[in-house]
Symmetry: C2
Amino acid sequence: MERRFLSGKDESQFRHQGAVELLVFNVLLILTILTIWLFKNHRFRFLHETGGAMVYGECINCGIVDQSDSPVQKVPKSEISENFISQTNQWFLLKPYQMTFDPEIFFNVLLPPIIFHAGYSLKKKHFFQNLGSILTYAFLGTAISCIVIGLIMYGFVQGMIHAGQLKNGDFHFTDCLFFGSLMSATDPVTVLAIFHELHVDLDLYTLLFGESVLNDAVAIVLTYSISIYSPKENPNVFDAAAFFQSVGNFLGIFAGSFAMGSAYAVVTALLTKFTRLCEFPMLETGLFFLLSWSAFLSAEASGLTGIVAVLFCGVTQAHYTYNNLSSDSKMRTKQLFEFMNFLAENVIFCYMGLALFTFQNHIFNALFILGAFLAIFVARACNIYPLSFFLNLGRKQKIPWNFQHMMMFSGLRGAIAFALAIRDTDSQPKQMMFTTTLLIVFFTVWVFGGGTTPMLAWLQIRVGVDLDEDLKEEPSSHQEANSVDKSSTKTESAWLFRMWYGFDHKYLKPILTHSGPPLTTTLPEWCSPISRLLTSPQAYGEHLKEDDVECIVNQDELAMNYQEQVSSPCSTPARLGLDSNASPQTPSKENIYEGDLGLGGYELKLEQTPGQSQLN
Amino acid sequence: MERRFLSGKDESQFRHQGAVELLVFNVLLILTILTIWLFKNHRFRFLHETGGAMVYGECINCGIVDQSDSPVQKVPKSEISENFISQTNQWFLLKPYQMTFDPEIFFNVLLPPIIFHAGYSLKKKHFFQNLGSILTYAFLGTAISCIVIGLIMYGFVQGMIHAGQLKNGDFHFTDCLFFGSLMSATDPVTVLAIFHELHVDLDLYTLLFGESVLNDAVAIVLTYSISIYSPKENPNVFDAAAFFQSVGNFLGIFAGSFAMGSAYAVVTALLTKFTRLCEFPMLETGLFFLLSWSAFLSAEASGLTGIVAVLFCGVTQAHYTYNNLSSDSKMRTKQLFEFMNFLAENVIFCYMGLALFTFQNHIFNALFILGAFLAIFVARACNIYPLSFFLNLGRKQKIPWNFQHMMMFSGLRGAIAFALAIRDTDSQPKQMMFTTTLLIVFFTVWVFGGGTTPMLAWLQIRVGVDLDEDLKEEPSSHQEANSVDKSSTKTESAWLFRMWYGFDHKYLKPILTHSGPPLTTTLPEWCSPISRLLTSPQAYGEHLKEDDVECIVNQDELAMNYQEQVSSPCSTPARLGLDSNASPQTPSKENIYEGDLGLGGYELKLEQTPGQSQLN
């Protein structure tokens, strides 16, 4: 009896401690929410909620650290590794006055909803219009950034070795590249929140948002590829075989994760299309949530990168499945992921505040920190300006200088960099990197995040644009749209865009959603059994002619651009009258659809920029 | 380099296994959802989603067990305890072909949303009208059930000892009572889902729902109190001191948890009342969620019962805070908790299916199982029929026989009983209890859950009642209401109801929400500074007279019953014209408010039941 009583007590002791720690986080988050409310109420914009969360994280910390004897003590190496390796199975490391999550929580619990939300809330139309630029910044830019940071840091590391602060052999070039790759994950959440609030120019918003979202994926896979780069002999010597294996790893993991994420979204789209789940919004939402999460888990289970899978799953879900959902589920899924994103983001930033003081193995090295700050600015500049220059050669609508400066300025580091850095802290170089990453995150979020509004004013970037596409149904925008020159909606990356749009409109949308032309008209004759099976009953029928055209065009946000630029690559299913807006004989209708996107006033102004008019 | 590579691989191995396990659960849930959809689509009602979840849990199991060598092997005692105690820190016990959650997950992650949702979705009006009966069933009924089951099981245990199946001293009377208390937690989720779908009589629904919700709380605290009942000497001998200590524990924990939960809800109500958070639905929802969760965590941290705290937090949030929320947040919070409830419930039932085969230490004892089945039926009968008899002596609106039979029939066991049983499985009696509990849950969910619809028909219980109170604003119901005899809404527990309602309407509602009379009129003169501070600006003002009365009365669902029964206990704030509907001079208006609740047709029919007419 005594034993059971005791063991019960021990167990409840554990439970209580876990509850206390979660409670502390809850209180921090509650304080953060109240502060954000206070700030929003008074229209302060210099501190974003994430910044606030960090401040509170630090505050609670100071209280904790004061009671502790040796907050930043040096712990012998073995204990360090024990600390962090033993955590793999534990959610909390229970030491007095110390609260640390298992780093894997960041990757498996907190990041997926953030990343999925980013993909799911993508402004599709602008994203696909700027696809070429976004891909360039995300892939090429991240690679440039990684290499530049790696090189600069290697220089500084050599300096540190000369200065005797570091032993030779502790810090390889691969470590520098590792740091470069994790530091390349930009996270302008603060900037984007302010952009959203101030309704900043949509193209700038999209470029920055698209870049940061894809760049996270690239940085994560890059970091992983570098961490498993293992030359056979001297790690300092370049090993071509190992290098190409790393590149192969990178490409394989990226492509595999992309395929996995998209595949799950396609399954969801087909399920929501062919079962009439929309009568039961709860089941539909549940299915949507579980399949999206399964994309993450399947990728992890098969050795791919779950975060990348979940990102592309989100994008695909938004593009196809979203159209099949009932209006109730549309709202539910949006709000659910918005809420999860909000919570996860604030937990991460709160935790960063906590980690600045409670993490036991900080290594503050002034030279390394200085080098890192220098490196991220140089790398960001080497990424944005040259790439923008080359992109402008091909873009019809140039990226103006003020946009480039703003993108340069928005190179904040955040959750991903932190999560990548905390994942591995069992060697001295890694600890130094972690400390430096933390400081850079703090600095960029506070200084650059806080400086966004003044910077926007200084660079004279247009604010107050109608960002919310929900307004597209307002009749007032129809009026405006009529006065817009249609050619102004032409943007860059036309060939990529056209190719993608044609394929998407002719095959993918009809297969995966209820919209688009019936497959029987777009697929070759010999596919007719399959195409008849896959075509939604809604895609046939006379009732489409009048009522559903508007709805479909609204869903199909890209329609009007495509139809303006391409003369006749799409076999117009004339018999349905569906694409009546595709024929140039009906300009008034076309204008209405354009107006429906609420971009009238916005496009009008863009057209007046000098670089634009000379090209049209 | 090699080491890191390996350790990285080990770590990712672990991650992959965790991902695979979660994936299996996800797939099970996805299958469950698709099955539910199929069933709902074809209007099958014999298998509820929870039943389906269990089936799939078992199916996956069979696949797993087939590959395993010894699925139900006897493991030596030490290993058993090691298995289950070591799990405290682990989320998954990683053995090939075996998946077990940490039992604490049920208590800390899965149950709180279910219980909170139950509290939050309570039909307040009917709940408070039947408060006396519900409390009687929940407290007295659960105590009776616990003791009856304990006694019967003790008899069977003695029989088992005689038959040589059990050693004397293994199974104390306290163990029997422990089993009785955990078996007393009824969970008619299947029945209630069918009730909801078929729109069964609201009073029966409320009685059953209220009983099951509160009875969970009682059973949890009771189980805990019994488990820490530790007589100093022989555990088989009654120890008065220890017994009274247990009773004291029960009362203290219950009251403390109640206070903790309500306190957090009150804080939330005040925060949402005085900060205008409603302009930011996301912040409001976040605050609501975090404060409700904090109620759970605080109770756990201070040694109380989180589940009980979160239940009363939910009830209080629904009663007060809900009125302060913006309409967007109202929907968001409702849908969020509905969704979490849906997922958590299905995970638990899925897991139960899994546990039937994968749990390594099942002890199937035919005599014990037989005894348990007998015990729960006898105990349910001893609970429902005598208590209903006594309640009918005091109730104006009797609980008819068919309701009593239906309540008897709805004594399903579910998530709580399972969670209580799995929490402690480190001794043989406890393992026997766990196995038996699992079987009882399966049997009751499948047989009784599946038999609900035929039973309703056989007992001639009215279905198709307008359950959704949202319809109250439909003008059609106004018409009906006018033809209703007002006295028909009079129900039982009048004195308790009146007392509570008076206090709530005069003090609590004005303090915590924007509705009700201004505190300056209800509180004594000397409190005026405080009352002026706490009264919502909306409570004053002339505009209330016409526009807001209806809205406030709608929020204040209890109004009309109170005003019909009580002559003048509430100091009518006549100067505001707010309670004009309280004065009997305005019968037409009163009828409209009654009609607003959409109960016209319903109450009309109730009045025609024989037991009712003779009392009115």
